[in-house]
Amino acid sequence: MAEETLLTDDCVRQLINVGEVDILIGLPTHNNSRTIQTVIRAIQTGILKCFPRERAAIFNVDGGSQDGTPELVTSSSIDDVWRASKVFALRTLHAISTTYGRAPEPCTALRTILAAADLLQAKTCVVISPDSTAIEPDWVQRLVRPVYDDKFDLVCPIYRRHKFEGALMQNLLYPMTRSIYGSRVREPYASEFALSGRLAADFLANDVWNQEWGKMGIELALTITALAGKYRVCQSYLGIKAQSGRAANDLVAVMRRTAGALFGSLDGNYAFWSGISGSEPVPTLGTQPEALVKLVRVNRKRLREMFATGVAHLEPVLRSIVSPETLTALQRIATLGINEFDYPAEVWSKTVYEFAAAYHKSVINRDHIIQALVPLYRGRSLTFVLENRDDSGEKVEKREESLCGEFERLKPYLLGIWPDRK
């Protein structure tokens, strides 16, 4: 029933014109006029090159752009692709757009995309971030093929990053998702992914849309739903993920959407995740690229200060969240100078688990719990930078594996402090 309320009459009219499709590419946007044409061109080229016979459409779901983003989508022409890259189109490739509100809501955007995919009986639904300016046409194939040809239900991306990029993913989201849900999905919170029509329809009917954690981090909810539902999940190497400046500058908001959603996911899935120990690799398609080599400036001094200040100022809050042993360890770490600074994997893993348990118990306002985690994460980030400063990608990967092992080893600890345990 979701689509009946989600899709406007105008949207339905456009979808009628598109008709049944094999591939639906969803583009959630909000004021992306600077980047959207690059992304659209890459998608169009990717479809025409790799799926010339398939029925495909681009579906823009806009959160009230003021900069003409939807108009740029609907005015994009495949004739331009022909002129630019001499890729011939057998079929009509629709690019349609609908607006759902005046502010971006990722949850509503994805729901609208999935409702359209369901209505159009899309075999594969792909979501692509509108600010992925480094996107290449080949991404479309790498996301679509595993679903379309190999019958996977969810394709998560693996990006080519600099070793210091994606620190939140590497230090928290990946290790914890892996230990909790038992699958080694490197980017469980992705802005590019593909899903089967079956998963799209099932996820659309899922109650997660109405749950707080689902609203906060719907992309993570999708991954977790797929893992918990025993859908076939795989990963596909894409390319360089352009970093969104907006996201990096608002770490609290990012933590809310990611860590908050991950913690929230534990509430209702206890029966599932509590029985999992260890983790299994998921099929990974494509060739692993070399890590990016570029100059990434990290203000280590500021990270240390923010950590130390946070630990000091938030002591009363932290006392209600973490164990006395962890608090003592944090306070000790806060005294370390920049050269000897070390927030060890074990302490970090325990910290995260204690935050997750506190979040579940709502010992204080949940938002305050996430805010309290931010300075601690900065401390862990500093250790991450210091540890990996001079190391190759291979060594960084080994250290990442070790951190994940620590999360998995300490999972019984989480179960021990979890109030629902039997």
């Binding site: 009219r13 456009q14 009628i16 008709g19 010339p52 011939f88 057998l90 009509t92």
Partner: protein, 546 residues
């Protein structure tokens, strides 16, 4: 009887393509003939067509189904005599059916006396009637057309110990049109048939008449000059006779064959045909609208010739590689269905014998700008036999009844020129004229009806076309207009029901009258005109302001 010499009769015509050999055998020798064809003209007339196009019926060794002519002024003895032809022509005219015959200008059979003389010695007076060379390295930029059988456009002649030029099979040497004697003699050949009263020529393989070094040897200016000269002679001496070009070229390359209205009257639109099949299978109008957008305007007196199938393979020369691969995968999965750069199948099997798709394709054929040509047997949904060599699988005997040899011949079945189609789906016992004439809802009855409806309006033959581009790409819609008459055509290319909104505001106030049932549809207003269409359904609406 001589039909009225209307100079543009071909614009509103519906043409029926027939092979004498395949249509009806009157003398019981297993091969169709002119007396048999003459007997069946009542059927052709009842079908509603007003012109018949005969494939080559001249004396020939028949190594290319008659396109290898060995005598231009006679009838192949298997098909009857010249008197038989004259009788057939007379009856056809009495029934209001014009007759178009084939004229293979480009080449002859290697058995033609001209070639025999030409090869006999380098000093023979007819030596220059063909294109000879001491080497096989001239005209290297010229493509080979029959890729499956020919390695080169040159063939070694062991008698005169030199190479001769051939664009088609090596047993079909090209005539040398740089030689004025050849040009004059070919005009005399045409004049011979024109004086008997035929109404038009389909001129075979016209782009290849002239060869020049450093070119593709196709569409050369000298070729156009020859055609202009022939046209001038025809207009002066035989007004009302139509010249139809067989030139498998892109529309832009075809356009010069119309000249300023002083070359061909008509030309086949080869690139459109495969795209109709493609659009149907893709359920997308894009291939069709694109090629028609690329089709240049032609002089008012000229006309395109449209067809779905003919005696040749469904040619895929005028498509891109991506399109060709798609067509092969969709319409010719069995490699035995492929020949040269094409697909050797009939209409009904190509469309999986789906009556709705057959009707839709014929609906488009009859309503797009041009003169439609129907290939014999397709009006009853005949099948093909891909196990017969070359293109013979689509040239099997016409299926008249469920009786002996399908009513084609009284000969022993073993002596027929070709085995008839026998399989349970397309065989003559299942698919034949006799049974379909008895059924008002048969394909044959439906074909008669659509031809009749098409003939009720000159808009289809002479009208302009304007495409509507509704957002639903599965709908191909266009407005045909001629004088005060306007017809809206809406085709659903999809296998599923579709809703479509048409912007018809410029026709506001008109009501729509569906041309097949004459039912009235709502008046056009300011709002988009909503139509719901069944799978593969099409509508022809006459717009009337009442």
């Amino acid at each position: 009887m001589v039909l009225k010499r209307e100079t543009s009769w071909y614009k509103d015509a519906t043409i029926y393509q027939v092979h004498v050999r395949s249509f009806s055998d009157a003398n019981g020798d297993g091969i169709g003939d002119f007396p048999g064809l003459a007997q069946k003209l009542s059927y052709v007339q009842a079908l509603g067509v007003n012109a018949i196009w005969l494939m080559p019926f001249f004396p020939s060794p028949l190594r290319d189904d008659g396109y290898d002519i060995s005598d231009y002024r006679a009838v192949h003895p298997s098909y009857g005599t010249l008197d038989d032809f004259k009788r057939f022509l007379s009856i056809a005219h009495e029934r209001g059916i014009r007759v178009i015959i084939e004229m293979v200008l480009n080449h002859t059979s290697d058995q033609h006396p001209w070639f025999q003389e030409s090869r006999s010695s380098q000093n023979n007076p007819k030596r220059d009637w063909y294109v000879w060379s001491d080497t096989d390295s001239k005209y290297r930029g010229t493509r080979i057309i029959f890729l499956d059988t020919e390695m080169s456009n040159w063939a070694w002649d062991p008698i005169s110990k030199s190479y001769y030029w051939h664009r088609f099979f090596s047993h079909q040497p090209d005539l040398n049109y740089d030689n004025p004697a050849v040009r004059e003699e070919m005009w005399n050949v045409m004049k011979f048939w024109l004086e008997l009263g035929i109404d038009g020529f389909r001129l075979d393989a016209v782009p290849y008449l002239i060869e020049r070094e450093g070119t593709s040897c196709e569409n050369l200016p000298e070729t156009h000059a020859i055609i202009r000269d022939l046209r001038k002679r025809v207009d002066e001496q035989f007004p009302g006779v139509m010249l139809l070009a067989e030139a498998n070229q892109w529309p832009a390359d075809l356009r010069p064959y119309f000249g300023e209205g002083d070359e061909f009257h008509m030309a086949f639109h080869f690139p459109l045909m495969p795209r109709m099949f493609m659009g149907l299978r893709l359920e997308d109008r894009k291939p069709i609208t694109e090629i028609l957008q690329q089709t240049p305007q032609i002089p008012g007196s000229c006309q395109w010739c449209l067809f779905l199938r003919n005696h040749d393979e469904l040619t895929l020369e005028m498509v891109t590689d991506v399109e060709r691969d798609y067509m092969y995968d969709i319409y010719a999965r069995d490699k035995g269905m492929r020949l040269n750069l094409g697909i050797r199948r009939r209409l009904a099997p190509l469309l999986d014998n789906d009556r709705r798709r057959i009707e839709l394709m014929n609906g488009m054929l009859m309503s797009l700008p041009g003169t439609p040509i129907l290939y014999y047997g397709d009006e009853i949904g005949m099948g093909d036999n891909i196990y017969l060599g070359d293109r013979n699988g689509v040239r099997t005997p016409m299926q008249w009844s469920g009786g002996w040899n399908g009513g084609f011949s009284t000969a022993d079945p073993e002596s027929l020129y070709s085995p008839p189609i026998l399989n349970p789906v397309y065989g003559y016992q299942a698919v034949n004229v006799s049974s379909q004439e008895r059924t008002p809802h048969s394909l044959l009855s439906w074909m008669k009806h659509i031809i009749e409806v098409r003939r009720s309006s000159t808009v289809f033959g002479s009208g302009s076309i304007e495409f509507l581009y509704p957002a639903n790409h599965r709908i191909l819609a266009y407005v045909r207009q001629f004088g005060k008459e306007t017809v809206l055509v809406v085709n659903n290319l999809s296998s599923a029901a579709q809703a479509v909104e048409l912007d018809l505001r410029r026709y506001k106030g008109n009501i729509l009258i569906e041309m097949f049932g004459r039912n009235v549809f709502p008046r056009i207003g300011d709002a988009p005109y909503l139509l719901t269409m069944g799978p593969y359904q099409f509508f022809w609406f006459r717009l009337r302001r009442i």
